[in-house]
């Protein structure tokens, strides 16, 4: 494999900038945000250069590596800190640095009134560096470092306004739930090392044929747990909604476009494991379907615009996970949906931020209404993202989602019908709740707070939105024309060039997908016609109430894990108190008690001692006499 010397700059630049901004402190306040944005842009530039260099090479020589140093060397076991830039990583590199740079630029305007703006940009750069390490590491161990790094960045940025206790709690919740998934990753690495004696992707892939299916399934399930934690998939999905406590650009970058898709990357990167572990693949599909419906249902019930977008992110990542569960047939479409989603969801989050910017940070959509006239650019960019996410042809989401639904049907038989049907149902619900967002925010009657003066956001904010909107329109066609993405990724995810069977003709699936969109949009139009009230109706069915409570996800976690956990803690404290401390105290008490008894022997009377000495002497003499006889 070819080597390159430039890959490390992708990570080193933002890492250096982040460290610089944090170490300089307030001294860098004046130029920190500009510097960080330029660094991010230069990382993007490096990425683009590498991309064109990669395109100019023949297909089998496209992947390049760079060894930085030997990290661990114990006997035969050696781990290098080395980077791998192949067709899969470069797609992520371009997404992370590209969308990242746009969001840096947006944040210059969005965060301009925040006194900790510099710290914000330092964290953003740190996130970019960690995320790039995640996608560029050539072994699970290198990936793990980036994996933890993005978790830390996410924690720092969710809790960026940690002066509010509930925001700090949200950050903690995200971190703890992520750690649960991280345990899955570390166990997967251990299983991988125990089975293959290696932790690098290439090392494991070479030996994967000789491993037992049990080991592969175990490793696959643990990787799935890791993916579920990072990508907010069932059952570790509950943190994403609360993660919206962070500043909106963070939600756009970390909790929509990049970090939460790390799970999809992990599964795609581990394709050699999953392709040989059908049970784990089925689990991946199930998790994907559960989450895509789960997120979509929550999305229908929320009034907080950011929470709707978060639920929708959860649901869209569910689609990606679903696609990865179909093996070589699905990986490329998962990545394609990930890229298009990166454009339209980041664009919509930035749009939501722009709306909040104009509405005094109001997030309740019931306090919006009729904003299209006052925020024309925001409403157009948001609208293009909306058309993309619900899958209207020829916008980006149509291509990617349609292909995922088609792949789901192609699983064949009853399974395929169930998978495809669920994905179609998800598409209907998506169209419904996103239309509701559009109607409540940009159309209808004004329901503003009395002091609201909506206005269009400054150029630095709408320019990134416009670029992302262009991406939402065009990226699907560009990625799919001539099956570009499938051919591009084939050397990584589909080395054997599988033939894909077709269960339904593609045209039928496309028709079904479009029908789903029409149905969803029509229901939303019917349900939301006429005047909207400023508060959510309270005389609603139990199902609506459950959906408003995030389908009881927090209640379930509390009931299943938190309360038993507290009980275990209480029991442990009691054990410590009574058994362990009790044993120690018991020993001490028995020593005191026996001393109290023995003390009685010491009377203080001389005659007493004399008598004892006499008796003792007599006993010794008697003993000697007995012995000599």
């Amino acid at each position: 494999m070819n080597t390159s010397t430039n890959i490390v700059y992708l990570i080193a630049l933002p890492l250096f900038s982040s460290a610089l901004l944090m170490l300089l402190g307030r001294k860098a306040d004046k130029w920190g945000h500009i510097f960080a944005s330029l660094i991010s842009a230069s990382a993007f530039f490096v990425g683009v250069t590498e991309f064109f260099a990669m395109c100019s090479r023949p297909e089998e020589a496209r992947a390049v590596t760079q060894k930085l140093f030997t990290w661990i060397s114990v006997g035969d076991f050696q781990v290098d800190a080395s980077l791998l830039l192949d067709q899969l990583s470069i797609a992520f590199v371009l997404l992370i640095t590209g969308v990242g740079t746009l969001i840096h630029i947006y944040s210059i305007a969005y965060m301009s009134h925040d006194r900790d703006q510099r710290r914000f940009f330092a964290y953003l750069n740190f996130f970019i560096a960690a995320m790039l390490l995640l996608v560029l590491g050539d072994s699970y161990l290198n990936l793990y470092v980036g994996w933890e790094g993005v978790g830390l960045a996410s924690y720092l940025l969710i809790g960026f306004w940690n002066q509010k206790p509930e925001y700090a709690t949200a950050a903690k919740k995200a971190f703890v739930m992520n750690r649960v998934g991280d345990f899955g990753l570390s166990i997967a690495i251990m299983i991988g090392f125990a089975t293959f004696g290696s932790v690098s992707f290439s090392g494991i892939e070479e030996k994967v044929g000789g491993a037992s299916e049990t080991a592969l399934t175990a490793m696959g399930l643990m990787l799935l747990l890791a993916a579920a934690g990072k990508s907010a998939q069932f059952p570790l999905q509950a943190w994403l909604g609360d993660a919206m406590a962070g500043p909106t650009p963070v939600s756009a970058l970390i909790h929509a476009a990049t970090m939460v898709t790390a799970g999809v990357y992990l599964i795609t990167r581990s394709n050699f494991i999953f392709d040989n572990a059908p049970t784990a693949q089925l689990a991946v599909v199930m998790i994907g379907i559960i989450t895509l419906l789960f997120g979509a249902i929550i999305g229908t019930a929320k009034d907080d615009i950011k929470k709707v977008l978060a639920a929708s992110t959860m649901s869209q990542i569910g689609y990606m996970i679903l696609a990865t569960g179909f093996g070589p047939a699905g990986y490329a479409f998962a990545i394609m949906h990930l890229l298009t989603h990166g454009f339209f969801k980041a664009g919509m989050f930035l749009g939501a931020g722009s709306v909040m910017h104009g509405m005094n940070d109001e997030v309740n959509m019931r306090k919006y209404g009729g904003l299209a006239k006052f925020m024309p650019i925001t409403s157009i960019t948001f609208g293009l993202g909306y058309l993309a996410i619900i899958g209207v042809p020829p916008f980006a989401g149509f291509y990617s989602k349609d292909k995922i639904i088609e792949t789901a049907f192609n699983a064949g038989g009853l399974q395929g019908v169930i998978f495809g049907g669920s994905a179609l149902l998800g598409a209907i619900i998506t169209a419904f709740y996103m239309t509701r967002v559009m109607l409540l925010t940009f159309a209808g009657n004004k329901r503003w707070a009395s002091d609201a003066h909506p206005h269009e956001s400054p150029f630095l904010m709408w320019a990134p939105m416009a670029i992302l909107a262009i991406g939402s329109v065009a990226s699907g066609y560009l990625l799919y024309s001539g099956k570009a993405i499938v051919k591009w990724l084939a050397p990584v995810v589909d080395k054997d060039h599988h033939e894909h069977v077709e269960f339904l003709p593609p045209i039928v699936v496309t028709a079904l997908a479009i029908a789903a969109v029409v149905i969803g949009v029509s229901i939303a139009l019917l349900k939301n016609r006429g005047e909207q009230s400023e508060s959510a109706p309270s005389d609603v069915s139990i199902w609506t109430r459950i959906a408003r409570r995030d389908l009881l996800q927090d209640d379930a976690n509390e009931f299943l894990f938190m309360r038993p956990g507290q009980e275990v803690t209480k029991a442990l404290v009691a054990t410590d108190d009574r058994v362990i401390d009790g044993a120690v105290r018991g020993v001490a008490a028995s020593a005191v008690g026996s001393a109290r008894g023995l003390r009685k022997l010491q009377t203080g009377y001389v005659r007493n001692y004399a008598l004892l000495i006499l008796i003792g002497a007599a006993v010794i003499l008697a003993a000697m006499w007995v012995v000599t006889i």
Partner: protein, 99 residues
């Protein structure tokens, strides 16, 4: 005279001394009883020396006298001091350990 009789005398004197130490309360009497026990031992030493015909027992008797003399000096000094502080020569009164 049969030297065994000296040994009987020595044993009787020792027993009287031992009983005296245990039963009497007056420190001076206790002290005298201790002296009696020492001298009973001396008598036994000298008798054994006579019986075996060598001088080792007599040498030991001198040692005992020296030790007894030292003991009297130190012991009487202690008894006098206790008497001064407690106005009593009873050995039972000299117990400071509480029950």
């Amino acid at each position: 005279m049969n030297p065994t009789n000296y040994l009987y005398l020595s044993a009787i004197l020792f027993s009287i001394g031992a009983v005296g130490v245990v039963v009497r309360r007056n420190a001076i009497v206790v002290f005298m009883c201790i002296e009696l026990m020492l001298n009973a031992a001396n008598l036994a030493f000298v008798t054994f020396a006579n019986m075996t015909g060598n001088l080792q027992g007599q040498v030991m008797a001198f040692f005992t006298m020296v030790v007894a003399a030292c003991e009297v000096v130190v012991g009487l000094a202690i008894i006098v001091t206790i008497y001064r502080s407690r106005r009593s020569a009873s050995v039972d009164d000299a117990s400071l350990l509480s029950r």
